[in-house]
Every structure is written in structure tokens, then in C-alpha cells.
């Protein structure tokens, strides 16, 4: 650590701290306070009175909010399982083929483009035309090709459309998980795996007894990243269904309440719910940071 005098360090960290205070620290505190106040936009402006727990009652009793909470739970369960699961399978499997880099690039591309663009791609895949009409959506063309009836993938509630949206999320984020898990897999000393194979262990056994335990810590970190991502998931739902037909999620509901309906108090309470759900992961991050600091 260098001594640079009393005020020079603040010259370096000051601008960042000022911006963070204005855009993150103050608003977080203000939003918590705001969640106990009424409708108007400006906390210190006219027509904003203290309403106690009214917004909070709304959050935990209103039907749309309850379905948003249920959908978020579904998102967390399926999205996290499949992004990490498929990412893990690809990380291990692609290591065994010569064209590894090509497939990895293809799966990884969605991490670099916008959720809005990806939503357009998938809206097209899910396009629905009535029975008898030519299906121009790939998925319904397949269904009809096998003699089925076209399905309103984004309309049929609550399971079909929510799962259809979650698949878009999985498609978008699996590459991210794969890249991290693949790097971890390539760090496993190969002689370790070879020795097990020579001892007669089959591939599945090698995977279960050696690879998986060694990858577990990385997979856990990736999984927490995915949970945080998915709780904040906004754009896919906003673009594809805007929460209609029972597909609402917390982040989209917060946006609607605030910026479409002008219910800033309710929207603040919804944002705080999001914060409370993410809080445990903040604590985990800080703990991990502290233990790393200690190890240095």
C-alpha cells in the first residue's frame, strides 16, 4: 500500500464515489422510503402522502403480483437449472470434439447481442397461424408436420407461455455459463482423469466422481450469477408478451406500475421486493470478497 498524502487518494476514487452515491446509494435509500408513500412521482412534491403498508399489502395480495412472484420462482428454478446444466454438459462434451471452438462460438453468440434482438428471433420461432394456414413459425410448422394442431406458444397460459419465455432466457445465457465452466474444466489436470480411465472407470463414472466435484464450486458461483440475472430479467418479457396472459414478472411489473400507470409508491415497493430477493447474494459476494482479502 502506498502513502499518497491525505487528499490525493480522494482525487482518484472521488469521482466514482460521487456518481455511485447519486445514482445508486441515495436512490436505494429513497426507494425504500418511497415504498411507504403514495402515488405521485416526486417524493418531496405535492400529493405524496404517507400510506403506511398499503403498497406492501398490494404487493403480497394483488393477483397480478402473486402471479409475477410465482412466475419468477418458475424462472429461477428452470432457467438456473438449464443454463448451468446445459453449460456444464457442453463444457465437458465439446472438449472431446475437434470442432469445439465453432460450436462454442455459436452457443456463446447470444451473450453478445441484446435481449430485444433475441426476443424478435424467438417471437418469429413461436409465431402462430390458425389451423389450415401455412405455419411460418418453425415450431408450429414442426408440430403441424407431425399432424398436431398449431399452439399459441406465447398465449396458452400459464405453463406453455411462461416456459416458452424461459427457453428464450436459457438460450440467451447458456453460452455464458458454458464459457466459464469450460475454462474451469480445462484447468482440471488431465493426468487425473487419465489415471481414473486407466483404472477402468467409464466416462460417466469419471464425470460423476472426479469432474463434477471439481467443477462444483465454479458451478455454484455461476448458478448464483444466474439467479441474480433471472430475478432482474426484464427485456425478454417486456418485448415478447409485456406480461400479458399471466406471464408477468417482478421487474416488468415494477416498470409498468411506475412508468405506465404512474403508481410510484407501489413500483417502489415492488423494487424493494427485488432487492430483498437479491440481498442474500449480495451478502454472499461480500463474504467471498472478505475471505479473498484475508487470503492475500
Amino acid at each position: 500500500m502506498l502513502h499518497a498524502g491525505r487528499w490525493k487518494p480522494w482525487l482518484f476514487v472521488g469521482p466514482a464515489l460521487l456518481l455511485i452515491t447519486f445514482f445508486l446509494v441515495y436512490p436505494t435509500a429513497a426507494t425504500i422510503v418511497r415504498s411507504f408513500f403514495g402515488k405521485g412521482r416526486d417524493l418531496f412534491g405535492p400529493n405524496v402522502e404517507f400510506v403506511g403498508l398499503q403498497n406492501w399489502r398490494y404487493v403480497f395480495t394483488n393477483n397480478v403480483m402473486l402471479s409475477a412472484l410465482r412466475n419468477n420462482a418458475l424462472w429461477v428454478a428452470l432457467f438456473t437449472t438449464f443454463t448451468v446444466g446445459i453449460g456444464l454438459v457442453l463444457a465437458v462434451l465439446l472438449d472431446k470434439v475437434k470442432y469445439e471452438r465453432i460450436i462454442k462460438s455459436i452457443v456463446f453468440i447470444p451473450s453478445a447481442v441484446s435481449a430485444v434482438g433475441i426476443s424478435v428471433i424467438w417471437k418469429f420461432i413461436y409465431t402462430y397461424r390458425p389451423i389450415g394456414a401455412n405455419q411460418i413459425g418453425l415450431l408450429n410448422a414442426i408440430v403441424v408436420g407431425f399432424g398436431g394442431e398449431p399452439i399459441g406458444w406465447l398465449i396458452q397460459r400459464p405453463w406453455v407461455n411462461n416456459i416458452a419465455l424461459i427457453i428464450v432466457g436459457i438460450w440467451m445465457w447458456t453460452g455464458f455459463c458454458m464459457v466459464i465452466l469450460s475454462a474451469a474444466y480445462k484447468n482440471i489436470p488431465k493426468p487425473l482423469l487419465e489415471a481414473a480411465r486407466i483404472d477402468g472407470a467409464g466416462e460417466w463414472k469419471v464425470f460423476r466422481k472426479i469432474t463434477l466435484p471439481l467443477l462444483a464450486p465454479t458451478a455454484a458461483v455461476v448458478a448464483t450469477t444466474m439467479v441474480v440475472q433471472v430475478l432482474k430479467m426484464f427485456a425478454i418479457v417486456y418485448v415478447m408478451t409485456n406480461g400479458n396472459y399471466d406471464t408477468e414478472v417482478i421487474a416488468n411489473r415494477m416498470y409498468k406500475e411506475a412508468f405506465n400507470f404512474g403508481n410510484y409508491g407501489r413500483a417502489s415497493a415492488i423494487a424493494v421486493v427485488l432487492l430483498l430477493l437479491i440481498l442474500p447474494f449480495m451478502i454472499v459476494n461480500i463474504r467471498r470478497f472478505v475471505s479473498q482479502e484475508g487470503a492475500r
Binding site: 453468440i109 411460418i136 418453425l138 416498470y255
Partner: protein, 285 residues
């Protein structure tokens, strides 16, 4: 000699690899082909019907692209996306590298707790911050302006970018600083002459990461730009098009590709740095 079992398992590995490759390639291929077909053809038959005659001419045109660029505001939005992303990324990388150096190598009261605050803020939902900032923005005249969104993106990106660069800079050997001090270099000189040049790989990763994040953002642009045509980026224009003209697939697919063009170029040209950024961010944080 390969046993039958081994042959089968090799086959399984290839089949699975190619299956996943297809699931990730086909959706994008579909809209790429569609974006070059005319609206009548799109409405009449699925895009896969062109596959048997993929390279025969006459069925493709650039009309949809010309349409979105000239009549639906995509060229203005492309420019706006650039005018938002490039300065915002520049400012945030600049401020974050100063802060990262301060946190990594300078002694001051509260250093540790302030850095812990930064780590906590890395994953704060942006939704927590929008409502209180908006009225301040209106009063300061920052709503719907480029400087307004530059500042917002800079601030939202700072915790992660500072953290990533801090990790890199704290790995610089201490001897380097000692010899700089002996040569009489002050903190600012040490920073600009030694720390920045050494940290170029980290700065490049952070820059690309942040650039793509801002280019692809929807929420921050929706809230702080207020939907004014002369400032909105591609993501907002495209999402407006989805809600206003949801069945015009010839325009939507072309618009989607226009919005993804630059990220794709960045991705293929600089994948190495992008991957490095992701690895640094997630393995440690």
C-alpha cells in the same frame, strides 16, 4: 480396435454436439434468411422452404434493410446507439481505472468499507434506483439527453468495472511502485506512466464488456430517454416496432439484424477479450 460400445459413445458425443450447435444456430439463421425475403413470400411460406434452393438468386433483396434504415428510424437510432455507447463506455472506463488504482494501491480511511460497498452494489437491481433519480433528472434538464444517459450508464457500470480493474491492478508487483517512488514519480505520474500501460489488457476487456452492455441495454434507455425519436437507441426503436408492427416480419427481422450487427462484429473480432472479461468477472465475483 474400437469396441462397438466406444463407436456408439463417439457417435453420441458428435450427435449431441451437433444437436446443440443446431439449436443455437437455426433460430438466428431463420431471421437472417427472412430479413432478405419480401413480405409476400414471408407470409406465404416458412423461411426453411428456401433451403433446397438456398443459393438461387431472385428471392432475396435488400429492400427490407433499406426500409428500416430510411423509413423506420433505424439509421438515426444506429447513430444514437453509437452516440450513447461510445462516450458512456469511455467515461466509465476512465473513471473506473482511477478508482481501481486508488482502491488497489492507496491508503485512505474507509478504503476497505467503501470497496465492500462497491462489491455489494455490483448486483443491485437498477429498478431500485430509477424512481428517485427521474425527478432529479427532470429538474436538472438531463432527462432525454445524451449527457444524462452517459452519466447513468457510467454510474451503473462503475461497481463492476472498478472491481474488475482493481483485481487486475492489485496484481501488479509492488517493486514497480517502489522504484517509481525512488525516481520521484508522484501518484498521478505513476498512474499514467506505469499502471495504465500495464493494465491495457484489463482495460480492453472492461471496455468491450461495458460497450456491449450499454449497446444492448433497454431499461435505462427507456426510462432516462423518454422515447424521444432523436435520442433513442436501436433497442428501443426495435422494441417499439415489435409492439406497433408485430406482424411485419420483413421489417422486424431486418431491424433485429441492424441492431445486432455491431455486437456481432465486436464479438467475432474481439472474442478473446470478451471471454477474458467474463472469466475475470464471474470466477472471482
Amino acid at each position: 480396435m474400437m469396441t462397438l460400445r466406444k463407436v456408439l459413445s463417439r457417435f453420441g458425443v458428435h450427435a449431441t454436439a451437433i444437436l446443440f450447435g443446431s439449436i443455437w444456430l437455426i433460430p438466428t439463421l431463420g431471421i437472417l434468411i427472412t430479413s432478405f425475403r419480401d413480405s409476400a413470400a414471408i407470409a406465404q411460406s416458412g423461411w426453411w422452404t428456401v433451403l433446397p434452393k438456398l443459393f438461387s438468386g431472385g428471392q432475396y433483396s435488400l429492400e427490407n434493410y433499406i426500409g428500416v434504415l430510411t423509413q423506420h428510424g433505424f439509421s438515426r437510432s444506429f447513430l444514437n446507439s453509437l452516440l450513447i455507447s461510445v462516450p458512456a463506455t469511455g467515461i466509465s472506463t476512465f473513471i473506473a481505472s482511477f478508482a481501481a488504482y486508488g482502491f488497489a494501491w492507496m491508503k485512505f480511511t474507509g478504503r476497505r468499507s467503501l470497496f465492500m460497498l462497491l462489491v455489494a452494489l455490483m448486483i443491485i437491481p437498477i429498478q431500485m434506483t430509477l424512481i428517485p433519480v427521474l425527478p432529479l433528472y427532470s429538474r436538472l434538464g438531463l432527462h432525454g439527453t445524451f449527457p444524462g444517459i452517459w452519466l447513468a450508464h457510467t454510474a451503473y457500470g462503475l461497481p463492476l468495472t472498478t472491481y474488475l480493474m482493481h483485481n487486475y491492478m492489485s496484481g501488479i508487483p509492488k517493486d514497480i511502485f517502489d522504484s517509481a517512488a525512488i525516481d520521484g514519480a508522484g501518484p498521478l505520474k505513476t498512474f499514467s506512466r506505469i499502471v495504465i500501460p500495464i493494465s491495457v489488457p484489463a482495460i480492453a476487456s472492461v471496455f468491450i464488456f461495458q460497450f456491449l452492455w450499454i449497446w444492448n441495454d433497454l431499461l435505462v434507455a427507456l426510462v432516462y430517454l423518454g422515447g424521444k425519436d432523436d435520442v433513442i437507441p436501436l433497442t428501443v426503436t426495435l422494441s417499439n416496432m415489435v409492439s406497433d408492427m408485430g406482424r411485419s416480419w420483413e421489417l422486424l427481422t431486418a431491424g433485429a439484424f441492424v441492431s445486432m450487427l455491431l455486437p456481432l462484429v465486436v464479438f467475432f473480432a474481439l472474442q478473446r477479450y470478451f471471454v477474458r472479461g467474463i472469466l475475470a468477472g464471474s470466477l472471482k465475483g
